[in-house]
Symmetry: C2
Subunit: 133 residues, 2 copies
DNA sequence: ACTTTAGATGACTAATATGATCGACTAAGT
DNA sequence: ACTTAGTCGATCATATTAGTCATCTAAAGT
């Protein structure tokens, strides 16, 4: 029921880049220092964001990272899912396929959990980096 | 962003007991077999529920567990908190005390996360074992 | 008393996730 | 060439999670 450091850091980094969209490329070190994120850890995170096309990078002097798409096209949901996996409050549905999972025998419980998941999804889906920068 | 097996099993066990409130004590084995929960693991869970006064137990023949309070006085929120800790989607607030935590420098993000946590809390708080049995 | 039934308790373990760190490598400017 | 800065793979320590085991205690039935 909580975010991992990874997705928190990812969001912080994206917000950081969004704020500096005009300034071209920003170095990992810069982000790490200003946001208080371990540099090497942030590297990994930015790489993942890059492979998922949220950021672009440039090597060498004057290089660094910048957003690859406008901040209002990046939802918190996407970012969190990228790092923490599905938002579902129970994984039962995906973990078991053929046998009935314990909790499935309590459909009312499942229903409540689904409603929560749906609400969380909706909120995170409609909130973008631009909204929180 | 998901429940642990512990709190899922705890809810299932409570629902099981609630359904059999008239029948006096129910054995761990009975619950375990019907709900598909590893018996020894369920023992641990029931012990925690007992110490938190949600269930009562009786040893020996004819013994077992039963609810210690009416099912509609037990909210899902309480149970989940008992096993999974606070429902907050970020632990920043509790983890750091004196230094500003990274994510706190993004108050808008924090606000969204708080709203989600509050919603989740409210729903789980008002849903009781009686509602899902 | 004795046996059976059933919970109580603490130690232990295996697997996975999490939060990093290290070192070597590659590309881009100057 | 040299410096700057991203890339990539491996590795690591710790925590969490899910569960097991062995032993002990208490209550009932005989």
């Amino acid at each position: 029921m909580r975010l991992t450091a990874r997705s928190e850091y990812a969001i912080l980094a994206l917000v950081h880049l969004a704020r500096r969209e005009q300034q071209g490329y920003v170095t990992v070190r810069g982000i790490a220092e200003e946001q208080g994120i371990p540099e090497k850890f942030l590297e990994q995170i930015l790489l993942i964001l890059k492979r998922a096309h949220y950021v672009q990078s440039l090597k060498g002097q004057g290089g660094g990272y910048r957003l690859a798409k406008p901040a209002r096209r990046i939802s918190l949901a996407e970012v969190i899912r990228l790092f923490d996996g599905p938002l579902a409050p129970t994984e039962s549905v995906s973990r078991y396929f053929y046998e009935a999972t314990p909790i499935e025998r309590a459909p009312r419980v499942l229903k409540v959990l689904r409603q929560i998941r749906d609400h969380v999804s909706r909120v995170l889906e409609k909130t973008t980096i631009a909204d929180v920068m």
